[in-house]
């Protein structure tokens, strides 16, 4: 029971401080790792899995983390936590929709919140990169780093879609880390 409450509270915090997709990742990462619900590489896995499956990233992370931490009940509770702002703030906003439509304050707040999210997400990219491109001893793992750079090129330069890039890296991963290391 305590676990479910903790899980719910974590995702309430995550929900209320996220403004669209990616901005959830920094808090998810710090909440999951500090509670011991996931390791840093599992955080990467969930971002990848969430990108490949339907549904918003934040809720997919909630399902994954909830399942890992406390099974089905955990998944449900984490989703409800992440949706808390939708059921409270947003429901109220719906009533006063016309006011919100032209809210100057909301716009002004977003002028500061959006760059703040960019800063945090930049931080989390570096954190994840430090784990994903390193071997167990903490040294740079060159094949991973090269594959990462290829992926960046595919995404930014050649505009390949995210699911395709993820599929591509899975296949290369099997060849590079499975076949080669077995042989």
């Amino acid at each position: 029971m305590m676990l479910l409450l903790e899980l719910f509270w974590s995702f309430v915090k995550i929900g209320f401080t996220s403004f669209g997709g990616l901005s959830m990742i920094p808090l998810i990462s710090s909440e999951m790792i500090s509670h011991g619900w996931m390791t840093a590489s599992e955080v990467s896995d969930i971002v990848a899995i969430a990108e490949m499956t339907p549904g918003p990233l934040g809720l997919n992370c909630a399902t994954f983390a909830g399942m890992r931490a406390a099974g089905l009940a955990g998944a449900f509770v984490a989703n409800m936590g992440a949706l808390a702002p939708t059921f409270t703030l947003c429901a109220v906003a719906a009533v006063f929709f016309e006011h919100f439509r032209n809210s100057k304050r909301l716009m002004q707040i977003m002028i500061g919140v959006r760059p703040a999210c960019v800063g945090m997400v930049a931080g989390v990219v570096i954190e994840l990169a430090m784990v994903n491109y390193a071997d167990l001893a903490g040294n740079v793992h060159v094949p991973s780093l090269v594959l990462g750079l290829v992926n960046l090129l595919l995404l930014v330069k050649f505009k390949v879609s995210i699911p395709k890039v993820l599929l591509f890296s899975a296949v290369v991963g099997i060849i590079l880390f499975g076949v080669m290391e077995l042989g």
């Binding site: 808090l27 918003p56 399942m67 947003c90 500061g112 999210c117 591509f168 296949v171 590079l176």
Partner: protein, 184 residues
Amino acid sequence: MLAKLYIQFLKFGCFTFGGGWSIVAQMKELYVNHDHTLTDEELLDLTSIGRSLPGTMIGNIAMFYGHRMSGFWGGAACVFGMITVPMLVLIIITSFYTAFQSNIWVASAMKGVRTAVAPVILSALMGMIKSAFKVPPCYIVAGAMFVLYFFFRVNCVWLVVIGAVLGLCICEYYERVKHHDAAA
């Protein structure tokens, strides 16, 4: 009515890969072009407000639309409809992931996939930059929040709150400068 909203959003929920924009496109197709329950402009308003409130953008949009059609429970029906399929899919995947995590082939596939995660986030971040930096001080906010997050381990909740306060301050400053210039 509730059942109809639930089923409509159940369908939207099946096809929401990579961010919430596909659901907006589907809503446009059904509600604006076909049912005429929304105009283009109203959909745009729903989207922009849903996006600037905390939480999941498409959850918020679903709540707004459902609320419009049938009050709070209409909103709840839309939200639950939207999350049903993704949640089931992910519950199944998570079970498999947990069971096969240590399998050599799954592990090496995941190891490959992990190399794509930082680039994926980075490329999405580049997309955010345009709308995030409206005025020059925004760059300072982003830089400062990065340092606080990465080096000082400040909790994200505080960083968002600080960002909100700074947003108000920045706008206040620009208003005053404008007034000052107008007076002079």
